[in-house]
């Protein structure tokens, strides 16, 4: 099967396919951006402070945070996403407060060297694609890119919610006739969530196969993410389990941790 792609290929070569998933997220993104801004403010973020959004995807959060008056820099590996983000930015008439560029998260420290931000955000399970050591390195780079009072928000899936509620299959239908089948498995030896995405075109009652993507990433429980943050020099301050700011528990899908520099 020549059309099986890994995560990076998915973002780069098949960016347009993944774009659909991002755009599905667009509707909630304003609420999410407001929650992020509220969390940052609660922990001393200055009014209109600067935010690094890495990776930013199609800019769902970057754009809304800029609209809320923050200066935002977004980076993403995928030129397709950055182009898309620029499209939204023009549509919504966002001014100079938003800067978008293509770049690799693993190299973020170099890319934005000498640009201290008031906060960095890492959204939508954007850790865990390589290994724990790479995650630690990314978090350390954020540490180097933020001011002395800098804050960090990491938003990932809550492993304990998956332990309790993971269902082995999910189905998504897109407006353009694409149907996505997601086959899911949690690997208990590695703590990786292993996903196989089958994309089909709906033709009448038939599903014509378009492509397959295999994705795996490390998922963290709260105590693990706190340990990882601490080992990268961050001091976890508060954690919530949703963008409605509910407490973390296995009943909540997300793990959103706010940290300050230790």
């Amino acid at each position: 099967m020549a059309d099986i792609v890994g995560m990076e290929d998915l973002f780069l070569k098949q960016g347009e396919l993944f774009l659909k998933l991002h755009e599905r997220g667009l509707e909630q993104s304003e609420t999410e951006a407001k929650a992020i801004a509220a969390l940052l403010k609660r922990h001393g973020m200055p009014e209109g402070g600067s935010i690094l959004d890495a990776p930013c995807g199609i800019g769902r959060h970057s754009i809304h945070l800029a609209r809320l008056g923050h200066r935002v820099s977004g980076i993403d590996l995928s030129p397709v996403y950055i182009e898309r983000a620029n499209h939204f930015r023009q549509k919504l008439k966002i001014g100079d407060g938003l800067e978008l560029r293509v770049g690799d998260l693993r190299n973020v420290g170099k890319l934005l060297e000498g640009r201290p931000f008031d906060a960095a955000i890492n959204m939508w399970q954007s850790l865990g694609y390589w290994d724990d050591e790479t995650d630690r390195s990314i978090l350390r780079q954020f540490h180097g890119l933020t001011t002395a009072k800098g804050l960090l928000i990491v938003d990932v899936l809550n492993r304990d919610n998956l332990v309790k509620y993971l269902t082995p299959f999910g189905l998504t239908r897109f407006d353009d006739g694409t149907e996505q089948h997601e086959h899911r498995r949690l690997n208990f030896e590695t703590s990786q969530l292993e996903l196989v995405w089958e994309f089909y075109n709906r033709q009448g009652e038939d599903l014509k196969h378009k492509s397959t993507a295999k994705v795996r990433f490390r998922v963290y429980s709260l105590h693990e993410l706190r340990g990882l943050l601490a080992s990268a020099g961050w001091q976890p301050l508060e954690e919530v389990g949703s963008f409605a700011l509910d407490p973390v528990s296995p009943e909540r899908k997300r793990l959103i941790v706010v940290s300050s520099k230790a």
Binding site: V163, K164, F188, T190, S191, R226, V248, P250
Partner: protein, 264 residues
């Protein structure tokens, strides 16, 4: 003055209570020991290999492993448990060796036994009582006590089963001994916290015997694997129990099998 650590309270001060809990587990000990033996044999550790069981409690696995032909050394820090273990050995007609030592200082107690055990067992959730660092240190001491190519078998509660099946309260009784457990799952640390209360039933009353805060770190499979690795072991398998079933979030138990390098 700080209160005594719960392990001192439960295993020394109130050892009579915990001997009864051990005894309640006696009837499944033979089946469990056979499961352990199958795991050992799968790892090429066969009778009459020397095995260390630490902590051994009242020796309920040791007597059966000895019966199967292994030469077993059981170590525990509770004199009351060891006394019961020696009686159990007489009752069973075998004679494992039983020694008193604190798990945290086991290497010092067995200083003349370095590199001598073909397998080391740590059963019934006997890690996670102090800190992750202490656990790593215990596993490092085990590593030095193990013969080259020796096996480590750790059996503990599976954190992920707890995530799915956590209950804040527990109740058990053994004859007139009543045990009421209140538990909190601290997700920030992955520790299970909470008071255990013991009572003696007298008619319809429960007469309080003892209360202690039994707190322990609960590990998920991948965490135990990484912990053993960081102590020098090479993990070979993770099972959901002594029956060697696949580990899932439905497995109440977590069994790690790891090996010491042949050349170390």
């Amino acid at each position: 003055m700080a209160a005594a650590h719960w392990t001192d309270q439960l295993f020394l001060e109130h050892s009579d209570i915990f001997v009864r809990i051990h005894e309640a587990a006696l009837d499944r000990a033979e089946r469990q020991a056979r499961g352990v033996a199958t795991i050992l044999e799968r790892g090429s550790v066969r009778p009459p290999a020397a095995i260390l069981d630490a902590p051994c409690g009242i020796g309920r696995h040791d007597v059966h492993l000895e019966k199967l032909g292994y030469r077993v050394t059981g170590v525990d820090f509770s004199p009351a448990f060891l006394e019961r273990a020696r009686r159990l050995a007489v009752e069973t007609g075998v004679s494992p060796e039983f020694l008193q030592a604190d798990l945290r200082e086991i290497e010092r107690t067995l200083s003349d036994r370095e590199r001598s055990f073909s397998a080391i067992l740590n059963l019934w959730t006997s890690l996670g009582y102090w800190s992750e660092e202490t656990d790593r240190d215990i596993l490092r001491q085990f590593h030095r006590l193990a013969a080259p190519g020796g096996l480590l078998v750790v059996d503990t509660i599976n954190r992920d089963w707890l995530v799915r099946n956590f209950r804040p309260h527990g109740y058990e009784e053994w004859g007139d001994l009543v045990h009421v457990e209140e538990r909190t799952f601290d997700f920030r640390t992955s520790w299970i916290l909470g008071p255990w209360r013991f009572y003696t039933r007298r008619d319809r009353d429960l007469i309080h015997k003892a209360t202690m805060s039994v707190d322990h770190r609960a590990y998920a499979g991948h965490e135990l694997r990484v912990l053993a690795e960081s102590a020098g072991w090479h993990p070979e398998a993770l099972f959901g129990g002594f029956d060697m079933a696949a580990l899932t979030a439905e497995s109440p138990r977590l069994v790690l099998v790891a090996r010491k390098d042949e050349r170390s």
